[in-house]
Amino acid sequence: MTEENKFEPRIVAFLCNWCTYAGADLAGTGRKEYQANVRVIKLPCTGGIDPLFLIKAFERGADGILVSGCHPGDCHYNSGNYHARRRWNVYKPLLEFCGINPDRIQFSWISAAEGAKWVETINGVVDTVRALGPFENYQKLNTIGSDTSVSSETG
Amino acid sequence: MQIEEKTKIGYYPGCAITMGSSSEEYGTSVLRVAEEIGPELEEIHDWNCCGASSAHATNHKLSTALSIRNISLAEQSGYKEILAPCPMCSQRLIVSQNDVEEDEELKKDVEDAIEMPCNGGVKIINYLELIKNYCMDEIAEKKKKTPKDLKIASYYGCLLLRPPKVLKFDDPENPTSMEEIVEATGATSVDWELKTNCCGGGFTLSRTDVVLKLTNDILECAADAGADAIAVACPMCHANLDMRQKKIGKEYNRKFDIPIVYISELIGLALDLGPISLGLNKHFIDTESVVNAFA
């Protein structure tokens, strides 16, 4: 159990440049403290996120992922975030198929003005994933080898 | 009417510091020091009480008339300057003079009441001003004694300085004139915070509790700043700090033994005038330590 307590989830956040990244900056400007488990990757738009990026991140050891962009209707590129969401609907079964509990991937809309929401969201994601425990499927894959079958978390 | 101009300064003691009054040692020492180093003071003939806080607190016109009568008397005697060592008096006289200057109607009413004209042109000064204007060189010249290690907190109170726009004397928040005089006597000035705070003034009889609180604050501050004695230039401040000091101590559980000396007494000591001739025996809190410092 002590092992459990020590678990610190590793979170990757894919953020759009215009809204959420700026929102995260604002949290900084406002000196709003949050859990340090997150590593941010900035993209012009969440619509430009290839779902394979997410799978790759899990493969590299992430325990959870946040994708966050502008509010609907506020997208810097008009409709990018909408596409992101739609694509997510298409790829969700794919991720589940890959043995990834969809709770490990969260989406949110955080505008450049919502520093506090960023803090709330990121803390939420960290807590959720902490509760889910480490995502070990891919690590096992890497370390043990291909002969071990991967048990699906979602089952 | 032809008035003969005088070089002497009109002396307005006011009720509190005349002989046989509660603060007579102030008057005694002022006159004694003036005898020694000038300037020549001459009591204004038949002066009356300025009405002090009771008059201005309840009747502006009366307060003004009572004060102006004294100024008009001085005017008629040809004085160009009046010394009023009691700050209450000097403040009342100056404010009244200012009020009639600003208010033509008031001036008429007052002249009618006192049945004398009031032409202005007489300057009213307080005791610190007198010393600063006339006596600093004389003190330096005629000083005979230098106290050993005597730390003095200069306490101005309110009325010497306020209202500043009318009195136009020293810096109302950080005055220094008393310290300059203290240092001229050879004593050391201590830096302390409450030197312009109010002591409760005229509430000594009616709201003794208020006076006790305010004077306690002042005594504590001076004591904490390391003062051996407090110098004052006001009979009310003196009365409140000196006469009530024991009671303050009792009320606030702190024993004070801080002599309260008039600035004129300090000058007198430096000039080596006898302590008794300065009235130093009339204090409630023993002044021996101060007298001894000049030995």
Binding site: - | C15, S22, S54, H60, R69, A113, R162, S206, V210
Partner: protein, 184 residues
């Protein structure tokens, strides 16, 4: 504390009346509270000095004239000295006291103070100068509850020759009486 202020009060020209009597324009006060902050007696007052000004501003005549504050004001003029808008608060207190007496509104809880002023002025009226002992006597008689106060101080003062039994009478005693008459 709750006061109800209605159009009648708000429209009354109390402020104008005060201005006429004293030249003090309370409208200038923007209620910053600096006067109160520096007032040595504020801790004892029922209304803060700035509230007294506020009462005058909004025509709350009764509240101002029946307050204990106006009597507790020690006339130290700290407030006037520091007011950023150059409102003469201390001087305003004078006017309010005057009006309060005229209208018989002086707060009975501060009777000590009003009595003291009376006794003081009576002495001046009688003699032209203060007879301290006479004044104290009058005051103590009128405020018997205070009679026991300062029992220790009085004799000490006498022994030090600081209280004389003889009043200082001035020559122009009558002139002083006249002044009192004319300045009623």
């Amino acid at each position: 504390m709750k006061i109800k202020i209605t159009t009648k009060e708000l429209k009354s020209d109390f402020a104008e009346e005060v201005k006429k009597r004293s030249g003090i324009d309370v409208k200038k006060c923007y209620q910053c509270g600096k006067c109160t902050a520096g007032c040595p007696v504020a801790y004892e007052m029922d209304y803060m000095p700035n509230q007294i000004i506020r009462f005058v501003q909004i025509g709350a005549r009764r509240e101002a004239l029946t307050s204990r504050t106006i009597w507790l004001c020690a006339s130290c003029i700290t407030c006037t000295t520091r007011c950023p808008k150059e409102v003469k608060i201390a001087e305003l207190m004078d006017v309010l006291r005057e009006m309060s007496l005229e209208e018989g509104l002086a707060n009975p809880l501060e009777k000590n103070i009003t009595t003291f002023h009376e006794a003081f002025l009576n002495s001046v009226k009688k003699h032209g100068r203060i007879s301290e002992i006479g004044m104290i006597q009058e005051y103590k008689m009128k405020r018997p509850k205070t009679a026991m106060q300062d029992l220790l101080v009085g004799p000490q003062m006498l022994s030090k020759g600081k209280l004389s039994f003889l009043p200082h009478n001035i020559k122009g005693k009558n002139a002083i009486k006249k002044i009192f008459e004319k300045c009623k």
